[in-house]
């Protein structure tokens, strides 16, 4: 009679098992949350570092494209600023001739060439 009272019934055992599983689950969840927290933090730092690098590279690109830098590189290549009197403008009516025939005719006449002081 006594041993029957001390023993656990299937319902109680199931409840204990369930509670234990819940405790284990909560522990596992807590450990996972902490582990993921470290990962998130590490990723955030990575993102920050990469973001900083991207920003630095963008600034470097802008520096390379700055007019002063381009001017120095152009001078190194022997390029000089063009003067407006060196501009050669093509007559606009020739460029804007529409239609297949006029284009074919223009091609037959040969390419346009520029000459100074006509």
């Amino acid at each position: 009679m006594m041993s029957k009272q001390m023993g656990l019934g299937p319902g109680t055992a199931a409840r204990f098992t369930g509670a234990g599983a819940l405790v284990l689950f909560l522990c596992w969840q807590h450990v996972q949350a902490t582990r993921l927290g470290y990962q998130v933090e590490a990723s955030r730092k990575d993102a920050l570092r990469v973001g900083a690098r991207v920003a630095t590279l963008r600034v470097e690109l802008e520096e390379r494209l700055s007019p002063a830098e381009v001017s120095v590189r152009a001078a190194r290549l022997g390029l000089v600023p063009v003067a407006p009197d060196a501009l050669r403008r093509l007559p606009e009516q020739r460029l804007s001739s529409p239609g297949l025939f006029s284009r074919w005719w223009a091609r037959r006449r040969g390419p346009l060439t520029a000459s100074a002081r006509s």
Partner: protein, 548 residues
């Protein structure tokens, strides 16, 4: 004794400490709950703040003029440093700073001291690896200007706390400054961050686009720099405006100073560039006809007893166009005498002199016009050729832009937006404006500003050469001048108004010899940059393309 009683006594005795513990637990958990909870969360969890990047400042084509990049600063907590010399010698190779400097900073007063600012990511990693006690790292946002000193007078400066101190950085502070991000930080026992959650992520500020054109700005600064080498002036300013919209395309100052924009903040006596006010007033009110002549008195005229006006060259009879071409002070003084003080004053105001233009840049000066009551015969004569008054370079630029666009004074714009040009007022009738603009073309073709000519293009403008006031004698100096030229091009359909002001040029000091060539140099570059077709096709200097 009954077994049950004995068991009860033993149980009670053994449970007594547990009861005491329970009471203590209840005390801690219930009565002191609030205080202990905040203490615990202070140990493991805290709120941190991260500096938000300021918005980019872009030019009109979207090129970056100013940008914030993440950087780090490191500091020392002196309470954790026992031996400053050992500390400094350990840090010196990591921070690439002299050990003596680090030791000095560590010994200086106060518990906290910055050791190095604007560190990049590899430096920070190296510092972390070194594991030096007493060193802390703080993230900051570094403001960088990828074009170096380009347009720094306009852009301004940002202080170490990330606030704009001058220029556009200051006036646009509210638009540029981002809200800092707040984080809830949970740390482990060793103090390492386990997790950060964003608790307050403010909206990132939108980039601000200025009307400046990076290329035009560069060309303006280059022209000014070249001019400085040639004429050795003390300081020089150059501004470019689109007269059709009022947008400022470039503002250059030499030498460059990020704390000051003299084109907006300084006032000066404009000299002969101011002659357009009297001339336009006379033409607009029909007081002077193109064929009317004025006697140049051979370069010397007594306005009132004891007051004589002189010209740099003796002149005879001159039309208004010739007065402007030869920049005759006597001629314009006689014109303004016909115009009268009230009309002259009204026209000065109509051009916007004496009031701020309203440009979105800090510290703008309104200049100073003599009140109407002070415009005596002598005062009026002096004002007609730009003496006895003070104007800002931006006011002069806007006034000439009004001439260039057909007579509408526009509010100068530095912020690019979709809004139409802000019209302030109509200055004068279209025919009067066209007549004066034609006369200004004559100034470049035949007058004092031949140095501003550009082959193949029509250019209009006016020179100015004004004596400066000697600060010691408080009289006009005979050796220091302000030379200037302001004009627009191509005159047939103006796209740019350019103002050049040179303070104290050495050697040749006339505006036509010093400032006008700088205008011409910049004008040529702008015309080629934008491939503007020549508007003076008869000029043999310009070639045309043709078939062989």
């Amino acid at each position: 004794m009954d077994l049950g009683l004995r068991l009860s006594v033993v149980s009670a005795l053994s449970l007594l400490p547990a009861g005491a513990l329970g009471l203590r637990l209840g005390h801690l958990q219930i009565l002191r709950h609030g205080a202990l909870e905040s203490r615990a969360s202070g140990e493991f969890s805290r709120v941190t703040q991260e500096a938000a990047p300021r918005a980019d400042i872009l030019d009109r084509n979207g090129r970056v003029l100013a940008r914030s990049v993440p950087a780090w600063s490191c500091f020392v907590d002196k309470a954790m440093v026992k031996d400053a010399d050992a500390f400094a010698s350990k840090l010196a190779p990591v921070l690439r700073l002299p050990a003596a400097e680090l030791a000095r900073k560590t010994r200086s007063a106060g518990r906290f001291s910055w050791l190095k600012t604007k560190m990049d990511a590899p430096e920070v990693e190296a510092l972390k690896r070194a594991k030096v006690d007493g060193v802390g790292i703080a993230p900051i946002q570094e403001r960088v200007y990828p074009n170096g000193e380009l347009a720094r007078g306009v852009l301004g400066l940002v202080g170490s706390e990330g606030r704009g101190l001058s220029g556009a950085e200051m006036t646009l502070e509210k638009r540029l400054r981002g809200a800092p991000r707040r984080f809830q930080l949970i740390r482990d026992g060793a103090g390492h961050a386990i997790y950060q959650s964003v608790s307050d992520d403010g909206p990132s500020p939108e980039p601000v686009r200025l009307t400046l054109d990076r290329n035009v700005q560069y060309l303006a600064e280059e022209a000014l720099r070249t001019g400085a080498e040639k004429h050795s002036f003390k300081s020089g300013y150059l501004a470019v405006q689109d007269p059709r919209t009022g947008e400022i395309l470039a503002m250059a100052a030499w030498p460059s100073n990020p704390l000051k924009n003299p084109l907006v903040q300084d006032a000066y006596e404009p000299g002969s560039t101011f002659k357009i006010v009297a001339a336009l007033s006379a033409v607009d009110d029909g007081l002077v006809k193109p064929q009317d002549t004025f006697d140049g008195e051979q370069g010397k005229w007594q306005v009132t007893p004891g007051v004589t006006i002189t010209d740099h060259e003796g002149q005879g009879l001159m039309t208004l166009a010739q007065i402007l071409e030869r920049s005759s002070n006597i001629g314009i003084a006689k014109v303004v005498d016909r115009v009268g003080a009230a009309r002259f004053y009204r026209m000065s105001r109509a051009f916007g002199f004496g009031v701020k233009t309203g440009v979105a840049l800090p510290g703008e000066t309104a200049g100073e016009l003599k009140p109407l009551s002070d415009l005596t015969k002598v005062g009026l004569a002096a004002s007609s050729y730009g003496y006895g008054l003070a104007v800002s370079p931006l006011q002069v630029l806007s006034a000439y832009s009004a001439l260039a666009n057909g007579g509408t004074l526009l509010e100068p714009k530095i912020l690019l937006d979709d809004k139409p040009a802000a019209k302030v007022r109509r200055v004068a009738g279209a025919s009067a404006i066209a007549e004066i603009a034609g006369m200004l073309e004559g100034v470049v073709e035949r007058g004092t500003a031949t140095g501003a000519r550009i082959p193949g293009y029509r250019v209009a403008g006016k020179t100015g050469t004004a004596r400066k006031i000697d600060p010691l004698t408080r009289k006009y100096s005979t050796s220091s001048y302000v030379a200037s030229f302001v004009g627009f091009l191509p005159a047939s359909e103006p796209r740019w108004t350019i103002l050049v002001i040179l303070h104290e040029p050495q050697g040749a000091y006339y505006g036509g010899l010093t400032a006008a060539p700088i205008f011409s140099q910049l004008g040529r570059r702008l015309l080629t940059l934008e491939s503007v077709a020549p508007d003076k096709p008869a000029d043999p200097a310009v070639g045309t393309a043709r078939r062989p």
